[in-house]
Amino acid sequence: MSNPPELLNFRAIFSIANATRFIQVAESLGVFALLLIVVISASIIAPGFFTYTNLTNTLIIASITAVTGLGMTFAIAMGGFDLSVGSVQVLTAIVVTSLLSVIDPPLAILGALLTGLALGLLNGALISKLRLPAFVVTFGMMSIVRGVALLVTQGQSVMVTKHIEFGLLNNGKILGLPVPFIIMMIVFVVLSALLKHTPFGRHACAIGGNRGAAIVSGVSIDRVTIAVFGLVGVTAAISGVMLSSQLMIVDATLGTGFELQAITVSVLGGTSLSGGHGNLVGTVFAALLLATIASALNILKVVSFYQYLALGILLIFALAIDTARRAFIAKSLLSRA
């Protein structure tokens, strides 16, 4: 990945932007290469992995994680993050499932998305208006929203009984591609456009890159923060709707540890926790990687608890790489000065 000509060019026009872009491309390629290796070795050692059904399933699971991961990438680029996405996912899944028994699917989905938006906006408002740390606010919200989910279901499961066609959101195919994958691609395209080509995205990155400078240049920190957390809430709600259409029966204990997955795919995909830039392509690849590993472990009949272990270790590993990358950038800047 660091072939001589590119490296030369990289040294010649030295700027943070270039260094960041170079590392971003390298990281996307890195995760992609890792993904290829895992897919190839899984196909060899796990018979039944490289089948149409299994690949479709893996793609669906990856898409559900990726959607929230993409939102999380936005938040991390802004220098924040959201620990409440797992709870928001389960609450919105419950909302859409319950609403389906009274209203039409489009309205039920709208209801779930609005719930996610409202919770995200609440997070953002608490963080920006009361100046509370994002970590604690979303940590507290994680508990509150989970409690609300348990309260509305009274600990029982909720099932989709009417409008069974809701399941098409999961098993449907468009041009041979599973619908969840299409949904994920749409979210990806919209968020990429938002991040790279709108003032909103640039402001979010500016806040993550240098908060003080962003304030001085007149970026409305509060508004951008609230909007970004609203966005994360919506992506979590989309994941919730997707989860509900996948399972068709949901309860309030789902989605624990989902926040960890979302953060892992963002960081593994090359979005630095220090903020300032978001690597959305990397997030998608990392979500695919995570789902592939899980599916391979499933086929090999490895007990599911090892997947927790794998997730934890993968997260620590990704973070360690993130640190090394930051140290590398800092060193490059120092040598330039």
């Binding site: 608490l126 009361l130 100046r131 509370l132 740390p133 970590f135 604690v136 606010v137 940590f139 507290g140 919200m141 994680m142 508990s143 509150i144 929203v145 989970r146 409690g147 609300v148 348990l150 309260l151 009274q154 600990g155 540890g257 960890l260 953060i263 892992t264 960081v267 926790l273 007990v303 608890f305 090892y306 997947q307 927790y308 272990l309 997730l311 934890g312 270790i313 997260l315 620590i316 973070l319 360690a320 993130d322 640190t323 140290a327």
Partner: protein, 331 residues
């Protein structure tokens, strides 16, 4: 009470103002809140003021309280540990495995050393790999939970029925003070000594106020933080010993949500999340306050699920109160 006064004066580092009601309430808001809620609940509900209930409150307070003692020191140094729920579950499982062969004393010693070791590991991951503490420990929580799950082959509950061991959780001194509560008092006295009367405590505060300044002054910042993580690990394992003894069983998920409660207890007690200052007396009161509220919810027959909502709301509003409090104190 003079312990508390010195504690608060020292930590706040503020000159004393006149004893106006406002400044008293600002300074001792959690203590006032505790007294008011106990008085109201005791007056309203006859069951609340029974000896059995009060004893139960002290017992429940000690599980979160013991963990919060260590966590206060760690938060003063400017870090967190979210892995405590996994760590506690894993030590519980370890206790259940070791107890039949090792006997009570050795098992407790082994569990505490195990907790300290895992704490050291957390500290190493945070400081040496330079990963932000909240996310590194979130990852470690997954690792510990997974290990506990693998060890117990799922969320199997292992019974721990050694009468000598169970007395640690159920025994009382002079019939009212549960043993875990006495140990909690000792833990707070020890941590108070560490934080306010030792060189290491000053180092903790220095690192928490400004890591760069501490580094420039030549303090071994990494070592100081790693030790703080080890203290949290030890305290959590200690809480694990009493929880296992009280439940007379252990499982991987025996402490789900423990990290949230512990951090909420510390924050509601008045320790700033920014690091650099902290009050152990506040954490102590915070633990009692949480136990009182959860006992009240039980007595009033509120669905158990409300606990999640209440804990989260308290955590967030405690931060708001803290902001308001520092504003008033500065005025």
């Amino acid at each position: 009470m003079d312990l508390s006064e010195t504690a608060n004066r020292k930590i706040d580092g503020q000159p004393s103002y006149g004893i106006s009601l406002l400044s008293f309430l600002t300074r001792y808001y959690i203590q006032s809140l505790l007294v008011v809620s106990v008085v109201i609940l005791g007056a309203v509900n006859p069951y609340f003021r029974t000896m059995a209930n009060l004893e139960n409150i002290l017992l429940q307070a000690s599980f979160a309280g013991i963990g919060a003692a260590g966590m206060t020191l760690l938060i003063v140094s400017g870090a967190f540990d979210l892995s405590v729920a996994g760590l506690l579950g894993l030590s519980g499982v370890l206790i259940s495995e070791l107890l039949p062969s090792l006997g009570v004393v050795l098992t407790v010693v082994a569990a505490l050393s195990f907790g300290v070791l895992l704490g050291l590991l957390n500290g190493l991951v945070v400081t040496k790999l330079r990963i932000p503490a909240f996310i590194a420990t979130l990852g470690m929580m997954n690792v510990y939970l997974a290990l506990a799950f693998i060890w117990t082959q799922g969320s199997r509950v292992i019974s721990v029925s050694d009468p000598d061991f169970n007395i640690l959780g159920t025994g009382t001194l002079i019939g009212v003070l549960p043993i875990p509560f006495l140990v909690m008092i000792i833990a707070y006295l020890v941590c108070y000594g560490i934080l306010n009367r030792s060189v290491y405590g000053r180092c903790l505060r220095a690192v928490g106020s400004s890591e760069i300044a501490a580094r420039t002054a030549g303090l071994p910042v990494d070592l100081i933080r790693i030790l703080a993580f080890a203290i949290v690990g030890g305290c959590t394992a200690l809480a694990g010993v009493f929880l296992t003894a009280e439940l007379s069983s252990a499982s991987a998920i025996m402490a789900t949500g423990y990290e949230l409660t512990v951090i909420a207890v510390v924050v509601i007690g008045g320790t700033s999340l920014k690091g650099g200052e902290g009050t152990l007396f506040g954490s102590f009161t915070g633990a009692l306050f949480f136990a009182v509220i959860s006992s009240a919810l039980n007595i009033l027959n509120v669905a158990a699920y409300w606990q999640y909502v209440v804990t989260g709301v308290f955590l967030i509003s405690a931060l708001g109160v803290q902001a308001l409090r520092s504003y008033i104190l500065v005025e």
